[in-house]
Amino acid sequence: MASAAIETSGLTKVFGRQRAVDALDLNVPEGSVFGFLGPNGSGKTTTIRLLLGLAAATSGEIRMLGEAMPAGVPSVLPRVGALVEGPAIYPFLSGRANLLRLDAADRHAASRTRRERIDAALERVGLGHAADKKAHAYSLGMKQRLGIANALLRPRELLILDEPSNGLDPQGTREVRGLIRSLADDGTTVFVSSHLLSEIEQLCSHVAVMSAGRLVAQGTLDELRHGDQRVTIRTPDAAAARRALAELGLVTEAGSERGAVSASLVDGILPETVTAALVNAGVRVRGIAVAGETLEERFVALTGEGFDVAG
């Protein structure tokens, strides 16, 4: 197993009587694009604040880029770029001056290359033309881009991006996706939180899902998505099909249409194993469909339906 860019054990944050983050064991492999999912209020942003040393954990441990946090803040954070809970700007400064200020705050950032690095970061997020405009005149999307540019002021080993596509138009979302991919190709580990499941699905190699402060799933995207693949067979010989599937150890149920049998593919049983068993049993098959759950279905299954935000 690759070494971890972020590793937490038993990470817990209690606000008053609420356990905002509850015994989190997160493992973000180095070089991964790690999707961090969860409904509003599930503790994603609080977790990110704990990782970055903005808030102190009630209990538990964090290791980031090989060092214990928050003790390692001075040496670890210069290697980490982050966008936390949306961008924050000085409205009375230009976009460029905003970045100048934040780069000056990093004691290890070389002032000699500051202008150059800032221009490169602004170009990279497509803000070059608006660099000298006062930031209060920026649109939501432009502020978001400025926040991402801040995360890219220096070459980073780890990027922590909280809702990077928030407020961006479809073009902007695509650009950010492309940007994350190119950064990941360069070997940067990217930890990205989002509600946009389709985006995570397109982008991430690994996924973790939070619900009400707890980690309810963690693994590669394929592990998570295909964890519960279903096979549905349309056949005039439903009873025989059920018997054949039962012999494989599958629990069958009536499909949604008449004469259909469906079952969850558990224990790593492959669709081809199922078809072979059906043929051997002489079951006439009209159609067979294998549906991996979409990430969305899996997400809803893990975190619950409806608008009730976990409080």
């Binding site: 903005l54 954070l77 210069p78 924050a88 000056a104 705050a105 290890h108 002032s111 000699r112």
Partner: protein, 281 residues
């Protein structure tokens, strides 16, 4: 550490302070406050010039001397500004230090840069202190300028009866700036501490200014004379000794010690609060 250091190249240790000062002094609000302070001597000078009302023996200290010597505009303006205008502007800047960044959300980005909490707090305090010096300096410089423009200037008669030339006056004026700025450092430390308690900058500013007013009120109540020497405002107007020859340094030293005490106590409180605070804004 090694990788971070390797990547650091030539980093300037004071770049954050430079950035803080640039941000503070380019901000329209700061410029407006300094402009308002400059208006104090200008208004005084114009009022005296238009009415020629000096010498009645009433009104603020030194106002009667202005018609004879324009340089006294600076002293008069400083005396007038100390109880209200200076603590008001310093309270705005000191109250905004941490709470303002928290309110904008930029505090979290400064901290993850990482600026270092202690370093950030120190830079914030130094910048607020620089503002206190600048505010005092603006009043004196504007006072001298408008005084020289509207009135004759010449050798200044000190409180002890001695006379100093313009260069001697310059030295005394700078000493006065130093004294008044120093007087404001305790208030600045209080403002810094209050600013670490909240994410609402206006609240921190108001609380700081209210404390300055309350301290002056307590200082005016003879029944509470036991606490007077401990009030950070107690020596605010005690700069007369600097206008004697030879200069009596007692009040300067006493004030410095008092202000230092406030800086140490409230500085420690601010550090204790800010270095352990969860930044959730």
């Amino acid at each position: 550490m090694s990788r971070a250091e390797a990547a650091s190249g030539r980093a300037r240790p004071f770049s954050l302070l430079g950035s803080e000062l640039a941000t503070l002094f380019r901000r329209r609000r700061t410029i407006a406050m300094l402009g308002a302070l400059a208006l104090v001597p200008i208004l005084i000078a114009i009022a005296v010039r238009v009415t020629s009302a000096g010498g009645s023996g009433r009104g603020p200290a030194f106002i009667g001397d202005i018609t004879q010597n324009g340089l006294f505009v600076a002293f008069t303006a400083l005396t007038v500004s100390i109880p209200l205008f200076l603590p008001l502007t310093v309270g705005v800047v000191a109250g905004d230090t941490v709470a303002g960044e928290a309110n904008l959300g930029t505090l979290r980005y400064l901290l993850i840069a990482p600026a270092g909490r202690l370093r950030l707090l120190l830079v914030k305090y130094v910048a607020a202190g620089v503002f206190a010096v600048a505010a005092t300096l603006v009043i004196v410089v504007a006072g001298v300028a408008i005084g020289a423009a509207l009135f004759p200037i010449g050798p200044v008669t000190l409180l002890s009866g001695d006379t100093v030339g313009v260069d001697g006056f310059a030295v005394r004026a700078l000493l006065l700036v130093a004294y008044v700025s120093l007087s404001l450092l305790g208030l600045t430390a209080i403002g810094l501490f209050i600013s670490t308690l909240t994410t609402v900058p206006v609240g921190a500013m108001a609380a700081t200014i209210v404390l300055a007013a309350a301290s002056q009120i307590v200082d005016a109540l003879p029944q509470l004379s036991a606490v007077h020497p401990w009030l950070f405002t107690h020596n605010w107007l005690g700069f007369a000794d600097l206008l004697r020859d030879p200069i009596a340094w007692d009040s300067f030293g006493q004030n410095a010690l008092l202000q230092l005490g406030y800086v140490v106590v409230f500085g420690a409180l601010a550090v204790g609060r800010f270095t352990t605070k969860d930044v959730l804004s």
